[in-house]
Amino acid sequence: MNNNTKSLKYLRPLLQADFFVLLKNKRALLVSFVAPLYIVFITNITSKHATAGQSKLGGAVFLVMLAITIGIMSTSIMGYAVTVARDREKGIFQRLRVTPAPTWVIMVSRLLIQVLSNLVITVVVLVVGSKVHHLSLSFLEYIWALLIATLGGAMFLSIGQALVGLVKSATTVNAIGTLLFAGLLISGLLGPSGILGSTFQNISKWTPVGTIISVFESALHQVTWDGHSWLSLLTCFGYVIVFSSIGIIWFKWDSNN
């Protein structure tokens, strides 16, 4: 058995504990599910009043994908980052680090639970959204949606990681995370509509929310997969690389150092 294989034996108890903690964190769970489902339902009501099933914000697929994006964004930025910052401040990581478990296993466990949470949110919102908005997605399109949601989750998790890498205090992480979430939400919701002008519309296309929505739309055949789609996909990967690098390089296990 090599060292990495030996290290994996520590993953099981950590995953179990992190899963229990996630389930107990009812407020975060509620926000992660309620916000996207609210968007799914409220946009269905408003789109009934719009012509040809199109709301002002975009088509049904766009709205469902936006809801998924908001769900995974809230759990990754507001949930993951705040929990990591809080646990660091309370010394929970210090307690885990004095055990024989390597530090990378401790962090991988946290991330895997978050990825699982993102996937559950995606499936729930996709299924509910499809019913509410009468979408007829093929099995392949469901798979595509899950894959893109995983990429989106990785992107928002890397943003969350960068946030806890750069900011030590849990209170500050919470405050900045909330502002970041609101900023990204506004850019995702209002940017594509052009309500805030063409400059903001162009900028919003390249924000994390804008790029992932663009990839969603292209992959689910709402728009043709073209150069912009490729660039959006590459930008998503770019965001993952840049933000996770920042988050890993600057991350401190102890908030006092």
Partner: protein, 265 residues
């Protein structure tokens, strides 16, 4: 890193060897060339005012902070090159009882049993909890326990894998006299089973009651090291000690005489 002769490094009777340990935070030298050893079955106390370097020394042994120079060997293993093996051989109780509030006592024990590779059946967990007086609390969350109960659980987890060296950072801070006595009994029981203990404390009573040897450290340096009685004998005629003594010289007089009367933050 300072190289040491092999025969000195492999001193088998010493569970912990610290040689010329130096820890620097920015421009602050928190620990300045500290050296001491702990033998098998020995209870060793680190006494010092706030900011003296006690917790930094412990954190370096625990592998939580990097040190600039010196050597730390646990059971002959150099911590720099064998960090995870050393961690498997030591038990740690941190100053803060840092367990996830959301987890129940049962779940916390399962988590740490998994991390220390200790096979515990559900019946064994119940027995363990009964033995530390937490049999009825198994389903409670950590935050629902009293300070004494949290401390008992913390000590149980630090000890669950029968470590050869137990590191306790101010283990009785904030405990009532009953809980403190109970903890001392546990420490003594651990020693009788051959375990060695390194503890930091502000309590002179604790140092005198449970420690075989004590090192007084200040400004990152060991300023005196001996048995509690030996320290009193060694320094009872020191003018600084006599100045603070109110009659028969005590360990507290020696401590204040050597480290000064001013309050540290």
């Amino acid at each position: 890193m300072i190289s040491m002769p092999t025969n000195k490094l492999n001193n088998q009777s010493s569970v912990l060897v610290i040689n010329d340990l130096t820890i620097i935070f920015g421009s602050n030298k928190a620990v300045d060339r500290i050296s001491f050893t702990i033998k098998k079955g020995e209870i060793f106390g680190l006494l010092g005012p706030n900011g003296a370097g006690k917790t930094s020394t412990l954190s370096a042994i625990e592998g939580l902070i990097k040190f600039q120079s010196g050597d730390i060997l646990v059971n002959g293993l150099d911590i720099t090159n064998n960090s995870l093996k050393v961690k498997a051989n030591i038990g740690v109780q941190l100053q803060a009882n840092s367990f996830q509030n959301e987890l129940t006592i049962n779940q916390i024990i399962k988590l740490y049993a998994g991390l220390y590779s200790v096979a515990l059946s559900p019946a064994a967990i119940v027995d363990s909890l009964n033995s530390i007086g937490l049999g009825l609390e198994a389903g409670k969350q950590f935050k629902q326990l009293s300070g004494g109960q949290q401390q008992r659980l913390s000590l149980y987890i630090a000890n669950m894998h029968n470590p050869i060296l137990l590191l306790l950072d101010e283990p009785t801070a904030g405990l009532d006299p009953q809980s403190r006595r109970q903890l001392w009994d546990t420490i003594e029981h651990n020693r009788q089973n051959g375990g060695s203990i390194l503890l930091t404390t502000h309590s002179m009573e604790e140092a005198e009651s449970v420690c075989d040897r004590v090192a007084i450290i200040d400004n990152g340096r060991v300023i005196s090291l001996d048995t509690p009685k030996g320290l009193i004998e060694k320094h009872k005629h020191d003018p600084n000690v006599l100045k603070v003594s109110r009659g028969k010289v005590t360990l507290e007089d020696v401590f204040i005489g050597l480290t000064g009367s001013e309050i540290r933050e």
